[in-house]
């Protein structure tokens, strides 16, 4: 784990304690069984702890602790699969910080910082991410297009929408309709159709605004994945140390020791990549490259760790009653978000000029 400052250590400890006590995986199970997006009481608690404002400047009601700090909180939420629109809303806020006018910032950031308003990105036109391109059109301040898989769409009051000529803010309401999409992670996703919805352009930022927003999405999603990978690894290791077969604990079999040593290596490489991505966002140094590395690593490492998590639990890993399957199902949704590894490799090569 990166060397943290005092502020970050406090935030991490607080998040760790809260998720462990107040929002363990059991809590997610209850939310799922109840068919809800998230537990409103838990969301209120997060708001009170200031997590909704971690990356938002103090002038607009946030704490301005930065992306590394938010990443620490998000990792802890990933560990216990805490459902909430925290990541989506932070990404919307990040977009406004990057490209918003003073007026747009004044209007939306304080509400996002307090959590009174939830925002989310509505970028991709199709069932896979293909970069910052969209056929969504805007004419006369009205936006029209369909975004088939938008995360936290039901919870959101504000959409940050990618159109063919830039990025727009669209409030939920007039011209916006939702159709729920129940993905394997059973979280909040929907197809969002915009029909002449009033839209307000994010005119600031540079010409790569959409990519810059996506880079933040890649890195922060990587942070959630890192927390998940760490937890699956820890749970699996615990299980191997408990379960006895052939009169010995599984952890004494060398084949399994080497597999775990390899996974540990993957996990630690993933941690370096994700933490470096978060640090890059805070220092604005080589963000596009760092984001590619962070997300591609997160994709590949969580992929293998979530698979091995099931395999090494044996039959019990296949049951809904056991937690490890939740991680596998969430993992694939996040892998598909904001670029699979094939897409990211291609992007990295292009950034390198080859």
């Amino acid at each position: 784990m990166a060397v943290l400052n005092e502020e970050q250590t406090m935030l991490r400890d607080m998040a760790q304690e809260w998720t462990k006590n107040e929002s363990p995986v059991k809590a997610w199970r209850k939310v799922r069984d109840g068919g809800k997006n998230y537990d409103p009481a838990a969301w209120d608690a997060m708001r009170e702890m200031g997590w909704t404002g971690v990356i938002i400047p103090e002038d607009f009601g946030g704490s301005d602790f930065g992306w590394m700090s938010l990443g620490l909180v998000v990792q802890e939420m990933g560990k216990t699969l805490t459902a909430s629109p925290l990541v989506a809303s932070a990404l919307a806020a990040g977009a406004i910080i990057l490209g918003g006018s003073q007026e747009q910032k004044g209007k939306y950031l304080p509400q996002l910082a307090s959590g009174d308003l939830v925002g989310t990105l509505a970028f991709d036109d199709a069932e896979r991410h293909t970069g910052a391109n969209s056929a969504t059109t805007v004419s006369g301040g009205k936006l029209t297009g369909t975004k088939p898989f938008v995360h936290e769409a039901d919870s959101a009051g504000l959409f940050v929408v990618l159109a063919s000529d830039g990025v727009y803010l669209v409030e939920k309401g007039e011209g916006v309709s939702l159709s729920k999409r129940s993905l394997t992670d059973q979280r909040d996703h929907a197809e969002v159709t915009f029909t002449n919805a009033p839209a307000d352009k994010l005119a600031g930022g540079d010409e790569d605004l959409a990519e810059a927003i996506l880079d933040r999405a890649r890195v922060l999603t990587g942070a959630e994945m890192l927390g998940m990978a760490q937890q699956v690894f820890d749970d699996t290791l615990d299980y191997l140390k408990q379960r006895t077969q052939f009169n010995q604990v599984l952890s004494s079999f060398q084949a399994l020791q080497h597999r775990m040593a390899d996974l540990y290596t993957e996990l630690e490489l993933m941690r370096s990549a994700v933490e470096a991505g978060l640090q890059a966002l805070d220092t604005s140094f080589k963000v596009p490259e760092a984001a590619c590395i962070a997300k591609a690593r997160a994709n590949d490492a969580l992929h293998v760790i979530s698979r091995q998590g099931i395999q090494l639990h044996g039959g019990i890993g296949m049951t809904d009653e056991y937690d490890v399957g939740f991680y596998l199902k969430r993992a694939r949704v996040l892998e598909a978000s904001w670029g699979n590894s094939g897409f990211l490799k291609d992007r990295y090569a292009k950034l390198g000029g080859y």
């Binding site: 004494s252 775990m260 040593a261 630690e268 490489l269 990549a273 390198g352 080859y354």
Partner: protein, 403 residues
């Protein structure tokens, strides 16, 4: 967390930087620019030119070949930050460190920790001046990964030990002046029966036979000891402490293997550039072989991740005041990536990347082939990949002993 060394005033470093610049201007011959021979350890020392000698002597007199070793034994006595400045300035001037080998990488640091005052005074200064070449007498025909089963014996004969047995894979044994050796002084205890002994390679009864490797080179030897007399004062630490000392030395070796690989690749040209030359690009400027292009990007990202991890290990170790746990993954990750790069490099070159010798190949192409072959050793020596995984599983992950 800042250490004392880090909080020295900035201008102190500026003054030091000035001193380094001056030194380099006065002592580093333009003609040696970029001619550092990293392969010298595997290809043998060769003849030193007069210019090379004077450069080595200049660095040796400053102790800057071993910049952070204590000055009282001939080291540079520099802080880490100063050493960094030295490294930067040398890189800028195209200068290279003429002082290296096993004495610098592994034996010196270990002797500084475990040696007697007299041993340090005797052995460290010649290492810092690059005058004495050391080799490592650990492995035996029947003691590889299970090193502690070694049988080469040292019998107590009052004022000396009598050494008998065989070592193998002794890198640079044919060029070495001295050997740090693990020997058995007690047959009743596997680990505590091992001692750490220093042996002159020109002692009567020492015989070396070079072994040819798959790369065609012969950088290592079989080493035979027949009734070799070794003075008692050449024992490092106590009798029976050899396993502890020997393992510490291996830690230095591992750090160097992963770190060395990292440096080599840092200095190397990016694979994508080499691939552009051999494969060409399509109308969009993409490498013509799309599968290789993807794998190159994957490799470059993985390599960056490895470097980030090495940096993180350093930062964590510094903050914690001890070796960070993730250092344990660096050897496997670094050696695997190094081999992956070598495999891709020859693949990119096609048949030109498979040349053994003679006409039709550039020097670089031939080097790539030999490097690819030699690189296979990195997952075997210094604790093989499998042994590293045993260590991670047991020490870091707390999994049970399977033996």
């Amino acid at each position: 967390m800042a250490t004392v060394a880090d909080t020295r005033p900035e201008d102190d470093l500026d003054a030091f930087r000035g001193e380094v610049k001056q030194f380099l201007a006065a002592n580093f011959p333009e003609s040696l620019k970029g001619k550092g021979n990293a392969m010298r350890t595997v290809e043998g020392p060769g003849e030193e030119t007069a210019e090379e000698t004077s450069w080595r002597e200049a660095m040796g007199s400053k102790g800057w070949g071993t910049p952070t070793w204590p000055a009282e034994y001939g080291g540079g006595g520099l802080t880490r930050k100063q050493a960094k400045v030295l490294e930067q300035e040398m890189a800028m001037a195209g200068a290279w460190n003429p002082i290296g080998g096993m004495g610098v990488m592994m034996f010196g640091p270990t002797l500084l920790e475990f040696g007697s005052e007299a041993q340090k005074k005797e052995h460290i200064p010649p290492i810092t001046r690059g005058e004495i070449r050391w080799c490592q007498g650990y492995s035996e025909p029947n003691a590889g990964s299970d090193l502690a089963s070694l049988q080469t014996s040292a019998e107590d004969k009052g004022d000396h030990y009598l050494v008998n047995g065989q070592k193998t894979w002794t890198s640079g044994g044919q060029w070495a002046d001295k050997c740090f050796c693990l020997v058995r002084t007690d047959r009743s205890d596997k680990h505590r029966g091992i001692s750490f002994l220093l042996i002159d390679m020109d002692s009567p009864g020492v015989e070396v036979k070079p072994i040819t490797m798959i790369s065609g080179m012969s950088p290592f030897c079989e080493t035979f000891f027949t009734d070799v007399k070794v003075p008692k004062e050449n024992l490092v630490g106590e009798e029976g402490q050899g396993w502890t000392i020997g393992k510490r030395l291996l830690q230095h070796e591992r750090t160097n293997i992963s770190g060395g690989g990292a440096l080599a690749a840092l200095n190397a040209q990016p694979l994508s550039k080499i691939a552009e030359h051999y494969l060409g690009t399509d109308e969009n400027g993409k490498l013509a072989d799309s599968d290789l292009r993807g794998r190159i990007a994957e490799f470059e990202m993985a390599w960056n991740t490895f470097l980030l991890t090495a940096r993180r290990a350093m930062e964590e170790s510094k903050a914690a005041g001890g070796v960070s746990e993730i250092s344990s993954i660096l050897k496997n990750a670094g050696s695997r990536l190094g081999q992956q790069r070598a495999e891709m490099l020859i693949e990119i070159m096609g048949f030109k990347g498979l040349g053994w010798e003679g006409e039709g190949f550039s020097e670089k192409e031939l080097q790539s082939v030999r490097g690819w072959l030699f690189g296979k050793a990195t997952t075997i020596y210094g604790g093989s990949t499998e042994i590293q995984n045993n260590i991670i599983a047991k020490r870091i992950l707390g999994m049970l002993d399977h033996q």
